[in-house]
């Protein structure tokens, strides 16, 4: 029973990592980025590539590199395609779906169809034992990374100049633009950070999961659900939603099985949106749609 608690938290950590980037791009810019999963994949493959140079420590070295790689991929996507679609979020879904298909095939052609492996650093080999509960270090690492990312984003959004601009654009694009904020620049930055975070998530997920061309599709639906349940563009919403979903998943699976747990989680979200149609936290606005 108690042993499920850290498992739930670690699922929450992974969910939060994959969803953080989406909270930005989906929440703030209204872009439904179906290629988000492929940015996660790019992060994982970055770790794989760096393995040749850093061998056992590739995971650590890959964190900043993957952020850059995935961030730049996101930037390119934004510059050449997505910027034409602002204000039409549903069209971005279709566009990025095509991009995701192509990126998967690119990965298949570069790295081959079979999975590859990234060796975890030896210092992550082991467990923390608290009474009857043992938590693998890899899971602690993912949880710590998730917390670090959340803190960094919070600080960035609330303490830096660019972060303030970002919030301004999110809350009222026109007014921000009138006040002299270059919304285009802010959008690019947002997309860069959002995509970069997906890359970081990809690196972390090499510790627990497979690394292959279809890696992204495994996580995409879950990531969207976290964002929707948490409320668009809401950092604390995403955190709470990830924890709630992680716990639900781990306990329901404990009592029944993995398939049932998935179905229950999805059903719970559909039911939850009946009570709070815009997620846990809502940005108040007087605007009419």
């Amino acid at each position: 029973m108690l042993s499920q608690l850290p498992i739930g938290l670690s699922i929450a950590g992974a969910l939060l990592l994959i969803a953080l980037g989406l909270t930005f791009t989906f929440g703030q810019m209204g872009v439904i980025n179906m290629a988000h999963g492929e940015f996660i994949m790019a992060g994982a493959y970055t770790a794989y590539m760096l393995q040749g140079v850093f061998s056992g420590q590739a995971v650590l070295a890959a964190l900043p590199v993957a952020f850059l790689v995935a961030g730049l991929m996101g930037l390119v996507l934004e510059r050449f395609a997505i910027r034409r679609f602002y204000g039409r979020p549903l069209d971005t879904l279709l566009l990025t779906w095509g991009v995701s298909l192509v990126l998967q095939q690119v990965a298949r052609d570069i790295f081959g169809a079979p999975n590859v492996n990234v060796t975890a650093p030896s210092w992550l080999d082991g467990r923390l034992t608290l009474g009857s509960v043992a938590i693998p270090y890899t899971r602690l690492f993912i949880m710590a990374l998730a917390v670090a990312c959340v803190v960094a984003i919070w600080a960035y959004m609330n303490r830096s100049k660019q972060g303030r601009r970002m919030r301004a654009v999110m809350q009222n694009r026109e007014l921000a633009s009138c006040s002299g904020v270059v919304t285009e620049r802010v959008d690019q930055l947002t997309f860069f950070i959002g995509s970069g975070l997906a890359g970081v998530a990809g690196v972390a997920l090499t510790l627990t999961g497979p690394i292959g061309p279809t890696l992204g599709t495994n996580y995409l639906v879950d990531a969207f659900l976290v964002v929707v349940a948490g409320g668009l563009g809401q950092l604390r919403g995403a955190v709470l939603a990830a924890v709630a979903l992680g716990m639900l998943q781990s306990y329901v699976e404990f009592w029944t099985d993995a398939s049932a747990a998935k179905v229950v989680v999805f059903a719970a979200i559909i039911a939850f949106l009946q009570v709070r149609p815009q997620g846990l936290f809502v940005m108040r606005s007087r605007a009419l749609t």
């Binding site: 042993s3 079979p114 899971r139």
Partner: protein
Amino acid sequence: MRITPLRKMAVLMAASALALTACGGTEEESGSSANANEIKVGILHSLSGTMAISEVTVHNSELMAIEEINAKGGVLGKKIVPVIEDGASDWPTFAEKARKLIRSDKVATVFGGWTSASRKAMLPVFEQEKGLLWYPVQYEGLESSPNIFYTGATTNQQIIPGLDYLKSEGKKKIFLVGSDYVFPRTANKIIKAYAEANGLEVLGEEYTPLGHTEYGTLVSKVMAAKPDAVFNTLNGDSNVAFFKQFKAAGGSAKTLPVLSVSIAEEEVGGIGVDNIVGQPVAWNYYQTTEGDVNTKFVEAFKAKYGADKVTSDPMEAGYNAVYLWAAAVEKAGSTDVEAVKKAADGIALDLPEGKVTIDGATQHVYKTARIGVIQPDGLIKEVWNSGEPIKPDPYLKDYPWAAGLS
């Protein structure tokens, strides 16, 4: 801007006309290119989608077999020409492409499929169109279609020897872990019947959705049950997640052996050797299997596809399928499906896994069961084998304890 209904309809008509002419076009092409000196065969595996991981390698080994046979003069003096199609990891697509190969390309036979679902989707097509399919992967048994030859193991050539091995190792309590689809569910049904008859205890049975990657809960359930061994029928990506998280939770081959039936040489790299080293697997062939035929097969494969490539059981079974079919065609003197089927009975060839004989009654093959252990270099070393090829028994008729299963 207004879109007039006329414009819409004009475009619709033009496009449909285009589609129709294009459809017609391919028809004529395939019809006229039929050559008296060629025999067309279909190769139908997933080249895209989630199953591409596994199926591309079988696709490659089948093409290699065709090339080898052509280099030796082909079949009946004719060249074998492969027609390649992509099943796209989607079962209805397999059915569509199978029908296309038989109807439009008029292939003599098809080599293809991997998942049980793809085979079940193609089965009615081959039966209705009177075609012939060679299916190269171990599967759950309880099937014997007159239009399919099965060159992979059925349950009594893989699952049951695996259980015999666990029993001989003194494992009394086992835990069943599998992906949620037909093969694991059927395999586990057989395992439970076997356990009951052989005094083994099944402590638990867990399934996860295909492509599942979160195994924290499942691993802790397994650990808490304290079994002597785990029987693993997980598939594809899930194996990677399971073994990574199993190792992170402190599991290893020493503390808890996990016998897998879907992990071959090529999957080991993706899982990471250190996550799975020392774990047993059950197959009929390993890259390290001894014999001249295998040495040549491995060399040829590496020469063609790269020195870092490995060979595995399904690849070998696909390779075998091509040779067995070619032998049957030579014996029958024709590519006619009925003649080939009749001629196939009793054909015996020396193939990489050893002597392989076709059992005409079930259209399966005799195979030697082999238990191997994963080595630090990623290859698999045989630790036990059944001594002689086991007669295929897809419905487990010769096993009294399995009476209630089918």
